[in-house]
Amino acid sequence: MADMELTGAEIVCSCLRDEGVKHVFGYPGGAVLNIYDEIYKQTAFEHILVRHEQAAVHAADAYARCTGQVGVAIVTSGPGATNAVTGIATAYMDSIPMVVISGQVPTAAIGQDAFQEVDTVGITRPCVKHNFLVKDVRDLASTIKKAFYIAATGRPGPVLVDVPKDITQHSCVYEYPKSVSMRSYNPTSKGHAGQIKKAAQMLLEAKRPMIYTGGGVVLGNAAPQVTELVRLLGYPATSTLMGLGGYPAPDPLFLGMLGMHGTIEANMAMQHCDVLLAVGARFDDRVIGNPKHFAKEARRIIHIDVDPSSISKRVRVDVPIVGEVAQVVDEMLKQIKASKEKPDQTALKAWWTQIELWRAQDCMKYDRESGKIKPQYVIEKLYEVTGGQAYVTSDVGQHQMWAAQYYPFDQPRRWINSGGLGTMGFGLPAAMGVQMAFPDAAVACITGEGSIQMNIQELSTCKEWKLPIKVILLNNGYLGMVRQWQEFFYEERYAESYMTSLPDFVKLAEAYGHVGIQVEKPEDVEPALRDAFGKYKDRLVFINFLTDPRENVFPMIPAGKGLSEMILV
């Protein structure tokens, strides 16, 4: 075996096998035919044929989000690659580890405007962590190894490997490298001991502390450490949209999500704290609003992030700590436990009293008597029916925010959504990725009638793989999030945000071979959900909830405003 030669196509499959990949999402075409021929012959992994390349990439991305492993997608050259770009950019913005293998025209044809040629490396360069064009079959295995290594280490991200067709035909001896060492790439994992000490000290001195966690806690598998830290100190905690589940939301120390659609208590505590610990969060514009307004109140900031460029990017910090959240917080816990100092309980009590006053405003209340189906109510019922244990994927819009606000996640990797790019069309393919990873889990895709139509073709993939996803369509007949902005900021001129001529979603679901249910009255919400997760447990169920078309997401911080300038119900 030792010096038997394999073709490039065989090498691609062997690398995936040796990397331990179990599921690959993709779509064939001319440039990857050799690879697909080898996929046909192998048994190490399953290939899931999607109906659009964007969906392959979203599915691989969600697979990575829910498992923590690197997701894998394969697409052909030209249109295959361009269709994949939205998916790649989505993963890039949320720092998701993923390897995309794209076919390319034969080496000799590159630059000739060949059939289905695009400069894939050039097009994807700004939205990948790194990419490669393989020019020699002898570099193929080491390049794929590097791709997995780069995708998964440091700040994770998508890596693309562009493989020209002739390379898949050439052959060489195959050996999958056991390890990678790159002089140009050595992400920091261990935080600076002195800085951690300083941070621990600062935390213990705080009078009005706040802990703000983000996607990095989930990505870095640091939920246990962060939870322990928050509980040890008894400090209030909040999370970004991306970090939900990193700290158990039902816990009283948790103030809910912060930011544009965050709670009063989270935003006010963020604005008025004197020491802020930011963990794996990047002070996004949807989180702190206007940085000038945020800077009005004096506070000292500690920031833990594996990517130095996330630190002091939008907000100056006092104690930067570059490193893996899990390692840094572990070390911090040791320091705090060993310290003779304890948090100032009197100050902390006064701070909590203030926070409880904010919390008492009950900013998540909504009209329960309207007789209409309130989208919030549907999510609450979904939470009840699934016992809070579902994997929830989402599309983008109002429904996404309601899902984040009314489904209190108590574990990481259960809430799967596109935060950074905000990609409509993400939800259904994401649910496929999750259901492939966890065939027996309850998977719900919360979506809008706008978003679902951006990748609705995937109902066919779901049929092929018998994926029992529950599509929870909060159908308000509007591009609701757009309509909300138009109502608030454009004097109710609803330009192109109204969706007429919607399909009959029940029939559509049935046409794809699934179960369709329409729900028009509040009292039918719960029974429909119970049927979906009970009677039709093993089927894909598409529930079309006709929700109150005028409902808005509150609280809301208008763009350019500060954290304490929320619009309330």
């Binding site: 490396v121 050039g122 360069r125 700004p126 962590k129 790194h130 064009l133 780069i150 790159m182 002089r183 140009s184 790439y185 990517d307 130095p308 460029s309 002091s312 990017k313 100056r316």
Partner: protein, 163 residues
């Protein structure tokens, strides 16, 4: 503030476009950029001249470091360093100008490296300010063509950037 940043990166195809793309995508300005392989052919050395507030420069160095192909980044402006730029200028050199141009080239320690009946081509190296001064010192109407490389920079004394 003007900064001069040196970097060593893997001499891979597309390496330059990663740096150039980073600057344009993030809206950083590039005054000049020079690049060539080093004595170790697997490495390229780049000198970038840019302008920005301290915060922007901090982001630029962090973002450059983040590029997977970049091995080392140094802001030369942080310490003492030397900058040199090469310029080739083709000037009118007929009649009275012929003597005048020779004299100016000498004053600026330039060399005339090509001669025709009506022109001289002058080679000049130095900090950018010296090259600017030369262009200002001669009659603008006499300048036929200029080409400049952009600055190359290196630390002074024992300040060495190597891997």
């Amino acid at each position: 503030m003007r900064h001069i940043i040196s970097l060593l990166m893997e001499n891979e195809s597309g390496a330059l476009s990663r740096v150039a793309g980073l600057f344009s995508a993030r809206g950083y300005n590039i005054e000049s950029l020079t690049v060539a392989p080093t004595e170790d052919a697997t490495l390229s050395r780049m000198t970038i001249v840019t302008r920005g507030s301290d915060d922007v420069i901090e982001q630029i160095t962090k973002q450059l470091n983040k590029l997977v192909d970049v091995v080392k980044v140094q802001d030369l402006s942080d310490g003492s360093h030397i900058e040199r730029e090469l310029m080739l200028v083709k000037v009118r050199a007929s009649g009275d100008l012929r003597e005048e141009m020779k004299r100016m080239a000498d004053i600026f320690r330039g060399r005339i490296i090509d001669v025709s009946d009506k022109t001289y081509t002058v080679e000049l190296t130095g900090p950018g300010s010296k090259l600017d001064a030369f262009l200002q010192a001669i009659d603008p109407a006499a300048i036929l063509e200029t080409v400049r490389t952009g600055a190359s920079g290196i630390g002074r004394g024992d300040r060495i950037m190597k891997i």
